[in-house]
Symmetry: C2
Subunit: 259 residues, 2 copies
Amino acid sequence: MGCEVDLLRLDRQSVVPLYYQIQQILLGKIRSGALKPGQPVASEQEIAANLRVSRMTARQALKSLCDMGVAYSERGKGTFVSLLKLEKGFRQALSFTEETRASGSRPGSKVLSFESFVPNGEVASTLRLKPEEKVFRLRRVRLVDSAPVGIECSYLPVRLYPELDRKFDPSTSLYRALSEFYGMHIHLTDEVAEAGLLDTRQARLLRAAPGAPALLFTRTSYVQSGEAVEYVKSVYRGDRYRIVNRLTRRNQESSTGVK
Amino acid sequence: MGCEVDLLRLDRQSVVPLYYQIQQILLGKIRSGALKPGQPVASEQEIAANLRVSRMTARQALKSLCDMGVAYSERGKGTFVSLLKLEKGFRQALSFTEETRASGSRPGSKVLSFESFVPNGEVASTLRLKPEEKVFRLRRVRLVDSAPVGIECSYLPVRLYPELDRKFDPSTSLYRALSEFYGMHIHLTDEVAEAGLLDTRQARLLRAAPGAPALLFTRTSYVQSGEAVEYVKSVYRGDRYRIVNRLTRRNQESSTGVK
DNA sequence: AAGTGGTCTAGACCACTCG
DNA sequence: GAGTGGTCTAGACCACTTG
């Protein structure tokens, strides 16, 4: 159903897993339009036979496409290309820099302050700090194509990022610095967003009118183990920032589809 | 590491898959606190040996826990209980009724209007309607514990829900009706949220002050195939509604963790 | 009846981590 | 070197869908 000549393209010596090579081949066909929404992707048996892999390997490739949302399986019928718009444009746990670049604009920032201190209870408890433990506080006005869109205040445990104030160039991406210097990789972000109004100080910094609509965020980011590694409070102009989410529905408690 | 006596609890005659039974056992231990955050969950080999299942089955059980976010695996080290707060309280693609109940409150609604008509281009194109195709429009004030919190306007293709106006009791859950009468199961919702202000009409309906902060939503819901089955525009009081999200970070294009 | 995905088995080799 | 998770094989039985 779509892998007649693909035999040649599997590299069995490669360190890249076979199921991942197959996934990429099929993903390419879907993204290029060679396989259209609603059409069947190759079946597990077809892939196994044509590419000379075991059925479990073919299955793993198809399963990964379903997990990504670009395909879906129906028992007894087959696996089909999803009718959904591609996942482009939907929010993941991205930094401001990544998110802005992804939307085709140029990110920037103006540092308001950058220092270390012992934070209040809200910050300390969210980051699970020990008593008297210090954090860096980085306050920045964030810019999109040089226009101010929001004010971010990041709290970062000093313990996790020693000498961050020396190593980090505030004109660059914070996440990139945390990744490069400390091997920190964000896995997940919890976020609360509320509607509010700009106060006079915020309005001045954002070159907007006091009392204009605003989005207020409280975000906590975690690495894979679940350790909290960043706490951020921010305010964005309501007319220049919006939230674009894709929410999924977990059937019950599983994610593997028991019905 | 946590399944010494569990042998007895696997039912090999059951229609419930073995991996799912194992997942539930481990999930119970995690939720009950018998397995604490950071501790190793049983290894694949342990489960396979102790419960007399193949390693692939044990692996599938652990994988499903990782997909849910309650555990994580590190190559060469093991699989551990996540330090994250449980997923309770984070938004999925839920109906207003489900979401309100989940937070322990009582949902309600007051119907403003309910009729069918041929919609404008925005609604028609989002729902991929044919020319002149009709939709139901259901406008409701949504209540939490009898207090108005938002105004929702739902557009539903008549083609998908014939005679909905006869079958649906507007004092009940819309999603429940769509599920019961038409077998419709929401799989995913795309959502755009913006900050705004209540106009005088909205303020009157919500018993709030005109110009008060508000959250504006535009939501489109899809079934598994990716077919759009509902389009909703809504306005919520900023002081009684907030967005609670959990955003994940997709490594590259896969969801299976190739690094 | 033939094809599909869902589950399961009993092995295997590998790269990785840790003591 | 022992234990771990990541990948892979070559089978198997089942429930389900469709012609």
